[in-house]
Each structure stands twice: as C-alpha cells, then as structure tokens.
Symmetry: C2
Subunit: 337 residues, 2 copies
C-alpha cells in the first residue's frame, strides 16, 4: 500500500514516519501548571536572558531545537529540514532561529495550529522520501503576543471572561523514516472554516467549527470513529471552545464526550491559574504534545491519539476592519511506539 | 527511480508533477510594464472594488484562484489542496481567500519567496501521492505593504535609491500528477542566510547571499550547471541585488552572467517606471512566473529554467530592534511542456 490520498482532506502513509525524539521549553506559569514536570526546560525569566520578548521567543525555539538535537545525539546541522512558524508578525521567531544554521527551512503560517501543521508537513516530507530527520517546530510567548495582538502589558487592560492565556513555550519533534517512537499513520488537512464569530477575545468559539469540520473529515475519509482513539486532543479551544465543540458535534449526532480533551485545559489549571478559558497560542499544543502526550504514547499509557491543532486566522487589522475570525484545524493520527 | 533526497537541500521527483494551468492578476503599474500583456486580468482600480487594500489583496487572490479554476475547467471546490501565503500580518490575504471554500489549505510564510515555496510544497504533495490538483498561490499589494512595512502612503515619504516597488498582483499555478504542461523535476529547499545587512530598504542585497547559497546547492546536490538552463530566474533581487549576486557568484568562481535574470527587473522597466531598483513582493515572482515564464515554457520558447524565489525574512519589529535582514531562497527546476 503506497501513500494515498483518502477522501477530500486526508492521506495515509505507506511507511508511518516515526517521531524519534521531542523537546519542550516553557515559562514560569506553564511550569506551575498540571504538566509542569513534563517539560525539558522551564525558566522563570520571561525574557529568557534576552533583551526583548520577541528575542525571548526566538531563544525558546533555539533551546527546543538544541535540546532536540542533544536528545537525538546529532549535531543541529544534521537536521534535514525544519518546518516551523509562529505568531509573531512575519514569523520572525522561526526565521531568526534558523538563521545561519545551514538547515533547510520551510516557513509555515497556521496560527495556533502550527504544531499539527508542521508535524503533518514533516510526515509528507519524510513519507514521500523528500527528506529525512525533519523537525516540526513552533512557539508562542504570552508577552510578545499580548503586545502584538492586544494591548501593551503596562496598560493593564481587563481580560474578558472568554479570553485565553497565550502559552509561553516552544515544542519541537523529530520525524524520521525509521527508529523507535510514536508513529504518524494518517493526517487530515484542514479547511478554513468560519461561522461568523467576530469577537477576537473568543477564539475558542471561533475555532470550534473548524475543529469539528476536520475531526468529522478524518472519521469520514479514513473510516474511523472516536472509539478508535484513546484521546482526541484539540489544540487550544479552551474550556469554552471545547464546550462549543461538544455541543456542535452533538447536534450533528457525533458523540466525542468521553474522548475529547484540549491542550488549553490540560496545560493550565483553569480553576486556579487565572487564565480564564485556558491556554492558547502555538506553544499551547506544542508543549502539551512535545512535553506530555508523546511521553504517554511512548510509554504505552496512550495507544492512539488524534492530535488536532487549532488556529484562529485573524490579525489585528482584520479585526479592526470588522472581519470575522476564520479558524483552521489540522489533524495528525499518532500511535504509540 | 523513486523520489529521492539529493545532497543536503535538494530532492528529485520520480514522476515530475505537471503544472497544467496558471493564472495571474495584476495592477495598473504592472499592466504598464514590459510583461503587461502576459497577465490574465489587470485592473486600474487599486482597491479592486473593495473597501481596503487588504481586502483588495484578498480579492486578487480570489480572482487568481477563480481564473485558475476556469482555465482548468473545474469548480473551485475540486482543487485538492492550496498552499498559500502572503506578506500581510498573519497572512490574512490567504486565509480569507480560502475561507469557507471547503478546499484544504496549508498556510505558508516565506516572504517574497512564497511562489517558489508553494510550488515546491505542491510538488511534494503531488509527487508523494498525498494529494492531487494542488494549487500554489500568493499575492502582494503595493499599498498594503507600504503601510504595513513602511509609512502611510499619505505621509509621502522619500524612497531610498536601493528601494524596490512592491508588485500589486497575484499568481496561481495548478500542479497535477499528470496532464499537459511544464513539469517540475527537482527542487532545492533554502536555508536562512544572512551576511548582516541591516538596511530594510536594501532587500535585494540582503537576499542575494541566500540566492547564491541555494543556486550553488542546487548545482552541487544535483550535479548540474548554469548551462543546463535557459534561464536562472531569481524572485525579486532587483537591479542592485542582481548585481550583488553576480559579484558574489564571481568571487566563488561561479559564472551566472549569461543566464541570470530577475523577476524584479522583468516585471517593471526600471529605467522608466520610477521603481528605483525594481519590483519586489510575493506578487513579483508570482505574476512573472504565472503570467510570462510558464507561457514561454509551454510554448517551447524556454526549455528549462531554475525558478528561484527569494524572500527577506524581516518584520518592522525586527528592524526596529536593530536586527539584520535574513534571506531565504527556494529553487524549483521546471522543464517545458
């Protein structure tokens, strides 16, 4: 059986690429959260020793890449290709991380879906025999996001009840043709879906329809069902978005109840950490996958998950011009190593 | 012979994917330039009937996609996958174009290299059997770029002699497993290269080292030489960047002289159109490829080109923080149909 397109949005991999290693870097609030002990590196300095939050974000990506190389017992320059992107304007976190490393780089933009998007692309590059030792990488930073998308932190703006807290963290995963570790068996590419939500502070609700669309497409295209998975993990819908997704799914006769969880509700304790609806940002699903889920898959505690990165494809300009918030969701089916 | 990674940065395609159709949309200045008659649609209204320049850019992408579907005699929803990105913050030109079309979408960020980057990714998706009828798409708009990267147009800022003029245009190419048309035989993925240029108004010089690095890698990885091509076409180095590239290449003993041209110097008449060093932007190489070069390849007037999209990976924030301008270049080898 060769690689094969299945249905409208999905493909299966002839020889499932292997996630041989993974690495995560996180900030103080994330270290204090329920998954705090899962991360390779945590730092309480929000600047990560740098002069700006943007450079701090770049530094986190570098640390994740360096840690990944170390865990993989190879030099950084031996990576075959890096797929990465982030939320900073023009994705400078990613570009500056790869600068003068000599490692081939494809820049992605998928907002908070980037961990799943980069993993999906890495599985294409490895599965199609175009490269090997391919890295999927992304990051986000609470402070760089706040000042770019919302207000200067010093302004002390009130957060709405539906708001989420951008995760400070970076995750990296190494995808190879062979080796030991969790395997990527199939992927579903998302469509840009939008039911007209215009509130940029309610991104969970804006992304929920995209998550449902992709999860449903995955089941239809590949003939599987929620019970085939231990977990269906969305990226960063938060508590509210997760509830919206469950309601929308139920309306369509799809029961996700027992299987659905969300990285935004895993990474923070939403009842105690003052994060309102939960975590968000590219780093949210990145550190949850590369710090927690892959460990569980590797140790056999999870057998098969559907990792569904969710992204809100807005910009401050689109919001100021009164446009809605389109969402996207890419899904990667991962089986334990 | 299967798909195969060659050298550090390149891959060859077992069954070269075919560019079966292409479409281009351009603005007034582009219509007045040397390639004016090559474009499918040109409009003198810089708003393309929309309320903002950002929406105008989205409209151009839509028009390019619609024209591509029409030329391909299929409905838009029959596209298998769209790889696209643009220069607008958070790539809203691309996201809003794909919104609610039901077409799977992977968002890219490669600055002005996006036409080559998306074509390269499309050839992976088709060549690896992951999808079919895959679109490579991008755009840029002079007015949306100026106000985002530089100054409000009404401010009337002076342009430096090394400045380039962002092309208003969108290009789309359809890549299929089979059919008639130019074929993609091999690709080289760029590395982020930077010799320390910090002048955001001299992007040609900032991108030239990346172009040289990728062109050299293509030759080394695949055992070919400049004489194997009718043209080596860089994306948007402009007059000055092209000269820098020739000088850098000569220093390394690589003679590109007779073969090198640049979309930024093809799309505008640099002596008459007041564009200083030439054209730039994702749209520059996009409309030159999808409006001019692919026509020449299809009619047999060109037999083989190396299409080298170049991108300057800066943001206003990175420039304001005193950081240099890293460049990237992705190369796609295309043979006549």
């Amino acid at each position: 059986m060769a690689n094969e397109k299945r249905g409208k949005q999905s493909f299966i991999l002839e020889t499932p690429p292997v996630i041989t290693n993974w690495a995560s870097v996180a900030g103080k609030k994330e270290a204090e959260g329920p998954l705090g002990k899962s991360f390779d590196i945590t730092q309480s300095d929000s600047y990560f020793g740098q002069k700006s939050w943007e450079l701090a974000e770049k530094r986190m990506q570098q640390m994740a890449l360096e840690t990944l190389a170390k865990k993989s017992a190879i030099a950084m320059k031996e990576f075959g290709l890096v797929f990465s992107g982030d939320l900073l304007n023009q994705c400078i976190g990613s570009s500056f991380t790869l600068r003068n490393t000599g490692v081939p780089h494809i820049g992605l933009y998928g907002a908070c879906s980037t961990m799943a998007e980069s993993l999906l692309m890495a599985s294409m590059a490895v599965g199609g025999n175009f490269s090997d030792r391919v890295v999927a990488l992304t990051s986000s930073h609470f402070a760089s996001s706040e000042r770019q998308y919302r207000f200067p932190l010093g302004y002390g703006g009130q957060r709405t009840p539906t708001a989420q807290w951008t995760v400070t963290g970076s995750g990296a995963a190494l995808v190879c043709k062979s080796g030991k570790g969790p395997k990527i068996t199939a992927c579903t590419i998302g469509t840009v879906t939008d039911l007209g939500i215009k509130d940029a502070n309610n991104m969970g609700a804006a992304m929920a329809p995209a998550a449902l669309s992709t999860i449903r497409a995955h089941f239809e295209d590949l003939g599987c069902k929620p019970d085939d998975f231990d977990l269906i993990v969305t990226g960063d819908l938060g508590q509210l978005g997760k509830d919206v997704l469950l309601t929308l799914a139920q309306k369509e006769g799809l029961s996700l109840g027992g299987k659905l969880t969300d990285c935004g509700t895993l990474v923070f304790d939403v009842t105690k950490q003052d994060v309102h609806s939960g975590g968000s940002g590219c780093g949210c699903s990145a550190i949850t996958l590369c710090g927690y889920l892959l460990n569980k898959l590797n140790s056999g505690k999870l057998k098969r998950i559907l990792f569904c990165g969710t992204g809100a494809l807005l910009s401050p300009t689109s919001s100021q011009q009164g446009l809605p918030v389109p969402g996207v969701c890419h899904a990667v089916s991962i089986v334990g190593g």
